[in-house]
Amino acid sequence: MMTGDAPLIQVLQIAILLFVAAMALGVVLTRDPTSQAIAVSFHGVLLGVMFFLFQSPDVALSQIAVGAVALPLMILLALARIRKDEAKQEKREASTEERAP
């Protein structure tokens, strides 16, 4: 498939494809959302490198800006918001328990 490129580029292309495949499995198997945000950020950087090695610098630029920065940021912000909601609910339950008996 990649005869015609320099041999080093061929090897790098195969290697990055295998890394991306392994990282995808790693992201799915990480169950805790907080650590998964970091995993998906690294997956985004690997995808950016893959785009770069396959001669698409435009796509690599937007993938790194979005997939490694903006997407994990929004995931972490949503998680922080959910955690604060949980703390508030627990506080509300604790105060109703005090008043009940």
Partner: protein, 118 residues
Amino acid sequence: MQAVLDHLPYYVAVWIFACGLYGVATSKNLVHLVICLAVLQSSTYVLLLAIGHRKGAIAPFFADRVVGTPATDPVVQALMLTDVVVEATVMALLLALAVQAHKSKGTLDPEKLRSLRG
């Protein structure tokens, strides 16, 4: 061996698709589901990349190269480009939905959120 190498990007694309779909279907947490959806979408990038790749070609930018040297397919790259940015905002919408679901039901488990009661 050469046959596998010939079609390696396609195999990697279907592997990532299968991983992402497995994660979506067996997820116990809405945020985990959204992230697996993002992984699912990255499989389409690998597929598009494989379609537009040309061996030994340069990137389709001719600021410093002579017009006419073989370059990779620009249409496929244009598709991927807009898709990457739009994916992030769709994920943000889904995360907002997850935050709202947690606020009204108190749980992030898709099993418990199944009924549309109340």
